[in-house]
């Protein structure tokens, strides 16, 4: 019993890997004594090892670990489902996407692409400029004018907007009429040359047709309404205040003179002269006498200064003038030069 106790303790220690060298020797000696000892050792060891194994298995938290695995499965399922879903969506979209890319690549040059980017060109006073639009139309801008136009024309209509004065040489395209928006009116053209004057301080919008055909239209409740056509060499004057439109035979040379750097008056009323002098020289021209209203002027200026022009006008008519140079306003900016025209003392 004593010996067995001791040997069994040694086997226990061996199972726990706690056996030292001395004890190992002792155990080996005992084992070699007889085959009986060996089978006894094997059997005891088996009991100990299996009980140890059973204990280890029992200590594992199976339900917790099952939860972990299920979480992993859930995650993979989600990724899988997402991937399958993605594949389906991709398969579903591939044809429309291809069609769209073909359409944008091939269809674009055919036109119809909307381009709403609006550009504008402005000329300051005393400066004229010429620009070419995307459709080939040439536009000459008089001083102190502004033109709004799309970077590229889209849709059926070619539309630009004008403030000030400009001369248009419209590229012919009957399918896509060209419109110049000026105040409440639009000048509709296909392939013509015309001049429009629409300065903000003008009381009239003047359209002069050099060649071709133009039509004056206005948008009323979304529909285009015609206000008459112009023939070659005619001008239309639309009163901004009362909307009346009158047509006259016109002097082309006078209307287009600004393009050659000339300021031309041909029997024009003093009001007209004052206004156009103002645009040309960036000045505020005031007529200080009602009696002057009947005066008409004929003159052509090219390189003259404001003062020279006024002096020349005063030679031929009974007027006096006063130039008040740009005065500083309260906000430190400078006001326009002011010109006061009075009746002369003659």
């Amino acid at each position: 019993m004593e010996e067995r106790n001791k040997i069994y303790r040694l086997i226990e220690l061996e199972c726990g890997k706690l056996l030292n060298e001395q004890q190992q020797k002792e155990l080996n000696c005992w084992l070699e004594e007889s085959s009986e000892h060996q089978s006894d050792y094997e059997e005891v060891r088996k009991v100990l090892m299996y009980s140890q194994r059973l204990d280890a298995m029992k200590k594992i938290d199976v339900s917790n670990d099952l939860k972990q695995v299920k979480a992993k499965i859930g995650k993979e399922n989600f990724i899988r489902k997402f991937y399958i879903g993605f594949q389906r969506v991709a398969a579903f979209l591939i044809v429309p996407l291809m069609l769209y890319s073909i359409w944008t690549l091939v269809g674009e040059p055919l036109g119809n692409r909307r381009n709403t980017i609006t550009k504008s060109t402005e000329t300051s006073f005393g400066v004229r400029s010429q620009i070419q639009l995307s459709d080939g139309t040439h536009v000459w801008l008089n001083s102190g004018s502004k033109l709004f136009y799309p970077e590229e024309f889209s849709g059926k209509k070619r539309v630009v907007k004008l403030l000030g004065e400009a001369y248009f040489q419209v590229q012919s395209d009957k399918n896509n009429p060209f419109y110049v928006e000026a105040g409440n009116y639009m000048v509709k053209a296909t392939g013509t040359r015309f001049n429009i004057s629409n300065y903000p301080d003008d009381i009239e919008i003047t359209t002069f047709l050099e060649s071709g055909k133009v039509e004056l239209v206005a948008l009323e409740e979304g529909k285009e309404r015609s206000y008459g056509r112009l023939l070659q060499g005619q001008k239309a004057v639309a009163n901004k205040a009362n909307g009346k439109i009158a047509t006259y035979e016109a002097d082309g040379e006078k209307h287009l003179s600004w393009m050659n750097g000339e300021l031309m008056f041909r029997r024009d009323s003093i009001k007209d002269v004052a206004r156009r002098l103002g645009h040309w020289f960036n000045a505020e021209v005031v007529i200080d006498d009602k009696r002057l209203e009947e005066y008409v002027f004929t003159a052509t200026f090219t390189n003259e200064s404001l003062e020279e022009a006024l002096r020349l006008l005063s030679y031929s008519s009974d007027i006096e003038y006063e130039i008040i140079n740009n005065q500083q306003r309260d906000d430190s900016s400078f006001a326009k030069r002011k010109v006061i025209i009075r009746k002369g003392k003659k």
């Binding site: 067995r4 069994y8 009991v47 009980s51 194994r53 280890a56 298995m57 594992i60 199976v62 499965i73």
Partner: protein, 195 residues
């Protein structure tokens, strides 16, 4: 493993193939603890590593359920999977320069059975029932509670000598009880082989 159980497992596996989770849960609950301890004992793998590995085996078992063909039994499929993974792990470790203490050795299905918790539990329970009460108490405290003889003596208010005697008595009875049921230990076979 009895034929009945094997048939039952194949039925459950067919259920699992159809996506029934209860069948998967059964396999997990039944084999997971044994597979973990198996990998730890046979390949001396760290506990955390073992758990991750065995969980991955089950993850693959579920995800590939439609592709898997069971030729022998579900249990050998699972144990062989864990064995292969363990060997892969050891090879990787070896490449990284860690010395491998024990090379896995092929073993019979019989040996696998001792790594099935419920089966080993049943076996022990029946054998432990044959022990006198005090004797059983000492054995359980020593083997399942991990107490030292000195502590057992204190707890049961008996001498350490008595504890040793009871323990020896328990081992004597149990070795006879379990003799016919339990295969020889793989480790022991190896031990002798090396000798």
């Amino acid at each position: 493993m009895e034929i009945k159980e094997h048939t039952q497992e194949l039925f459950l596996f067919a259920e699992m193939k159809q996506g029934k989770e209860y069948a998967f849960d059964f396999f997990f609950n039944y084999y997971y603890p044994g597979l973990c301890v198996y990998a730890q004992n046979m390949f001396s793998l760290p506990e955390e590593e073992t758990k991750n590995m065995v969980q991955d085996v089950f993850l693959k078992f579920w995800n590939d359920r439609r592709k898997i063909v069971i030729t022998t039994s579900v249990r050998s499929y699972l144990f062989v999977s864990v064995k292969n993974r363990s060997l892969d792990y050891l090879k990787k470790k070896k490449r990284q320069g860690t010395k491998i203490e024990f090379e896995g050795k092929d073993f019979s299905e019989e040996a696998i059975d001792t790594y099935v918790l419920s089966e080993l539990e049943t076996l022990f329970k029946e054998s432990l029932d044959k022990l006198p009460a005090r004797c059983r108490e000492v054995f359980e405290l020593s083997r399942f509670e991990g107490l030292k003889n000195r502590d057992i003596a204190k707890q049961l208010d008996i001498s350490e000598k008595t504890v040793e005697n009871q323990m020896t008595k328990a081992l004597k009875i149990l070795k006879l009880e379990l003799k016919d049921y339990l295969p020889l230990l793989i480790l022991f076979e190896t031990f002798h082989f090396l000798k």
